[in-house]
C-alpha cells in the first residue's frame, strides 16, 4: 500500500436542512454524515458498510462534490475539491467517477449505448470524432459487451448489461477513482458475481481505486482491502479486511459481523448471534455522546455524554469507542 493517500477525507460533514410543519416554519437538520475521516490509497478497494440511512452513500456523493459538503475537506491532488464550484471541479470530474445502484435509471433512456459511452470521451476531448467508434468498441469489450450494442437503447438491455454500460461510461473518462454506490445491490446474485469479477479485473487492468459502498458483508469481505463501518453518520471502525473480520473492536461491528451466516455448517452451529435491541435513532436528533450508546450492550455513563475520539489503536486500525483500550487489538 502506498504511503501517500490518493484521497484524504478530513472531518467531512454533510447536514441536510429540512422544513417541517404546514408552512415549513420549523427547520430541522438531518445529520447524514458527521465528522468522517479516512484516507483512500491508490489501487486499493475501500469498502464502506452500514445499514440503510447510515450515511455511506451520502459520504460517496459528498466526496465527489455531487452534494455540497457542509464542512470538512476532501483532498485530491493537493486540492480541496469539495470547496470547488462546478467549473473549477470539471477537470477533477474526469478522474473521479461513480457507478450507481439502480441499473434501470442510471442510463438516459433517449441515448444509445454508443452515445452514452462516447459522450464523456468527446466532452473531455479524450479522442477525436473519427477515433470514437473504435474507442467505444474497446470500452464495450472491456466490460464484456459486443460492439453491436453501441446502436442499442438502454431499454433493450438487461439489468446486468446496463450496469456494464454504466461501468463503461465511467471508464470512458479514464478515471483514477470510482465510487461504486451499491453498484451490485440491485442485481441477481449470479449477475452480482459477474459484475464483481468484472470490477476486480478492470481494477487490475487500469490500476483503479474503488470506494465500494455496500451492505453485503460477504461481498465486502471478498473484494475489499480495507473496510469502514458507519453508524448513524459517523465512522465506527476502519481497518484492513483481516483486522476487521478477525478482530472487530467496535461493539457495533461485532453485532454486524455476527449477523453474517457461515458457509460451513459446523461453524454456523457455533455462531453466536448478537442481536441489537431497539431501532436506529433518527438522524434528525442523533443521541449525544456516542451515537451507538442507545443500543450498545456495553454502554457506560461516559458514552452517553462524550463523543468517542477517532483513534488509531493499532497501526491501520481506527475505532471510535470509549471501551477500546489502545493496543487492545493485540
Amino acid at each position: 500500500m502506498a504511503a501517500e493517500p490518493l484521497i484524504k477525507v478530513e472531518n467531512l460533514v454533510k447536514h441536510f436542512v429540512v422544513r417541517l410543519g404546514a408552512f415549513g416554519e420549523r427547520g430541522a437538520t438531518v445529520h447524514a454524515v458527521d465528522d468522517v475521516n479516512f484516507d483512500i490509497f491508490a489501487g486499493e478497494t475501500l469498502s464502506l458498510v452500514g445499514e440503510s440511512g447510515c450515511g455511506k452513500s451520502t459520504t460517496g456523493f459528498t466526496l465527489l462534490n455531487l452534494q455540497k459538503a457542509t464542512s470538512g475537506k476532501v483532498i485530491f491532488q493537493g486540492e480541496n475539491i469539495v470547496s470547488l464550484d462546478e467549473k473549477r471541479m470539471r477537470p477533477y470530474r474526469r478522474e473521479l467517477q461513480i457507478v450507481f445502484q439502480d441499473p434501470y435509471s442510471t442510463l438516459n433512456p433517449r441515448m444509445t449505448i454508443g452515445e452514452v459511452v462516447g459522450e464523456p470521451i468527446l466532452f473531455h476531448k479524450l479522442a477525436t470524432k473519427a477515433e470514437l467508434p473504435e474507442k467505444v468498441t474497446r470500452l464495450l469489450a472491456d466490460v464484456g459487451l459486443p460492439a453491436r450494442f453501441a446502436s442499442r437503447y438502454p431499454h433493450e438491455l438487461s439489468g446486468g448489461q446496463r450496469q456494464r454500460v454504466a461501468i463503461a461510461r465511467a471508464l470512458a473518462c479514464q478515471p483514477k477513482f470510482i465510487v461504486c454506490d451499491e453498484a451490485i445491490s440491485a442485481l441477481d446474485v449470479s449477475v452480482q458475481a459477474q459484475i464483481i469479477n468484472l470490477l476486480l479485473d478492470l481494477q487490475e487492468k487500469y490500476g483503479l481505486t474503488y470506494l465500494f459502498i455496500a451492505h453485503d458483508l460477504a461481498v465486502v469481505r471478498h473484494i475489499s482491502d480495507r473496510v469502514g463501518v458507519m453508524y448513524l453518520g459517523r465512522l465506527a471502525e476502519l481497518a484492513t479486511r483481516e483486522q476487521l473480520f478477525s478482530n472487530p473492536l467496535h461493539p457495533y461491528t461485532r453485532a454486524l459481523l455476527s449477523a453474517v451466516p457461515e458457509a460451513d455448517p459446523e461453524l454456523e452451529k457455533t455462531r453466536q448471534r448478537q442481536i441489537l435491541v431497539g431501532d436506529v435513532p433518527s438522524p434528525l436528533a442523533p443521541p449525544a455522546g456516542c451515537r451507538f450508546h442507545t443500543r450498545c450492550p456495553i454502554a457506560m455513563d461516559k458514552c452517553r455524554a462524550v463523543v468517542p475520539e477517532w483513534r488509531e489503536v493499532v497501526p491501520g486500525h481506527h475505532v471510535a469507542c470509549h471501551a477500546v483500550e489502545v493496543g487492545a487489538a493485540g
Binding site: 450507481f100 433517449r110 444509445t112 466532452f123 469489450a141 464484456g144 433493450e156 446486468g160
Partner: protein, 321 residues
C-alpha cells in the same frame, strides 16, 4: 484482458434493428385504432383549415337573400342561414378560425408555460415560488369569468384608443379593430391556458432532475446547458406532447364557448361558437343551423382527445399495460 460475453444473448437479437423510444412510441400509436382515427380526423380538419377557401362552393360572406334558411340540399350541403349564407362554407371557414385560435393560443401558452415551468423546476428557490404563486392565482379564478371580465373591461377602451389613434395618424392599421378582438381573444385565452403547462413541465423537470442519469451526467462534468438539452428536455417532453394534443381540442371548445358568450371572435368572421350561438336561437325551426357547427366541433374535440389518449399510451407504455 478478454472478457467472454456472458448471458448476453437473451435480450437483444442481432438481426433486429435498434428501436429508439420515439420510434417505439410511434409504432404503439399506429396500433391504437382510436388514436389513428383521431389522427386522421385531425389531419383532415387541418387540411380543410388550410385549403378551405379553395374547397367551398360559395364565399362565406355572400348573402343570397332569396335562399334564406334553406334545409340541406345538394346545392347547399348544410343548408343556408337566415342571411342566405352557405352554412357548409361557413363551417369550413370556421375550421380555419378554430385552428388559428387553437394553434396561436396553445403556442403562446406552451412557450410561457414551458419556459417558466422548466426554469422554476430547475432553479427552484424564490423564482420557483413566485411562478407557482402566479399559476395558483390564475388557476383559482374561474376561466370564463376571467375572460369575460378582461374582454368587458378592456374591449371598449382599446377600441376607442384605436379609433383615436386613427383620427390622429390616419394610419390604416388603427382602423382595423379586428386586431383588438384578436389581441383580447388570444391574450385572455393564453392567460388562462399556460398554468397547467407550467405545472406539468415543472413537475417533470423536478422528477427528472433527481434521476441517477442526471447525477451521472453531473459526475461526468457535463455543463448545465448540455444536461438540460440532452437529458432533461428529451425526457420531459413526452407528457407535454400529450398535453398539447389535448390542449388544442380544449382551446377549440374554449373559443366556441367564448364566441357563444359573445366575447370571442366577432361576426361576420365565422367561428363554430358564434354559429352555434346563432343557431341556438332558431333551432326549433332550422335545426341544421345548430347541428352542423356543433357536430363538427364535437368531431374535432373527440378526435383530439382520442389522439391525446393514444399518445399518452404510446409515450407512457408502463401506465397502459
Amino acid at each position: 484482458m478478454t472478457m467472454t460475453p456472458v448471458n448476453l444473448s437473451s435480450t437483444v437479437a442481432d438481426d433486429e434493428p435498434p428501436v429508439s423510444l420515439w420510434r417505439d412510441a410511434w409504432h404503439r400509436l399506429l396500433r391504437n385504432k382510436l388514436a389513428v382515427a383521431g389522427l386522421a380526423v385531425v389531419i383532415l380538419l387541418a387540411f380543410v383549415a388550410v385549403f378551405g377557401p379553395w374547397l367551398t362552393p360559395y364565399d362565406f360572406l355572400t348573402q343570397d337573400l332569396a335562399a334564406r334558411n334553406q334545409a340541406p340540399s345538394l346545392a347547399h350541403l348544410f343548408g343556408t342561414d337566415d342571411l342566405g349564407r352557405d352554412v357548409f362554407s361557413r363551417v369550413v371557414y370556421g375550421t380555419r378560425t378554430a385552428f388559428v385560435v387553437a394553434i396561436v393560443v396553445t403556442t403562446i401558452a406552451v412557450v410561457i408555460g414551458v419556459t417558466l415551468g422548466a426554469m422554476a423546476g430547475y432553479f427552484g428557490g424564490l423564482f420557483d415560488r413566485i411562478v407557482m404563486w402566479f399559476t395558483d392565482m390564475t388557476m383559482s379564478v374561474p376561466n370564463l369569468l376571467l375572460v369575460v371580465v378582461i374582454n368587458a373591461s378592456l374591449k371598449t377602451p382599446l377600441t376607442a384608443w384605436m379609433e383615436a389613434r386613427y383620427q390622429a395618424t390616419l394610419n390604416p392599421f388603427y382602423r382595423e379593430t379586428i386586431w383588438v378582438d384578436f389581441l383580447l381573444v388570444f391574450g385572455s385565452m393564453a392567460l388562462i391556458s399556460w398554468p397547467p403547462y407550467a405545472r406539468l413541465v415543472r413537475a417533470q423537470v423536478l422528477s427528472i432532475r433527481g434521476r441517477p442519469y442526471v447525477t451521472a451526467a453531473r459526475a461526468l462534468g457535463l455543463t448545465n446547458r448540455l444536461i438540460l438539452i440532452r437529458y432533461i428536455v428529451p425526457n420531459a417532453i413526452g407528457p407535454l406532447i400529450v398535453s398539447v394534443s389535448a390542449g388544442l381540442g380544449t382551446a377549440m371548445v374554449l373559443e366556441s364557448a367564448f364566441s357563444f358568450l359573445g366575447v370571442g371572435v366577432n361576426p361576420p368572421t365565422p367561428s363554430w361558437g358564434n354559429m352555434i350561438s346563432d343557431g341556438l336561437r332558431v333551432w326549433q325551426h332550422y335545426p341544421h343551423l345548430l347541428a352542423a357547427p356543433a357536430a363538427v366541433l364535437g368531431l374535432a374535440t373527440v378526435a383530439f382527445s382520442f389522439l391525446g389518449d393514444g399518445l399518452n399510451d404510446a409515450l407512457n407504455p408502463r401506465g397502459s399495460k
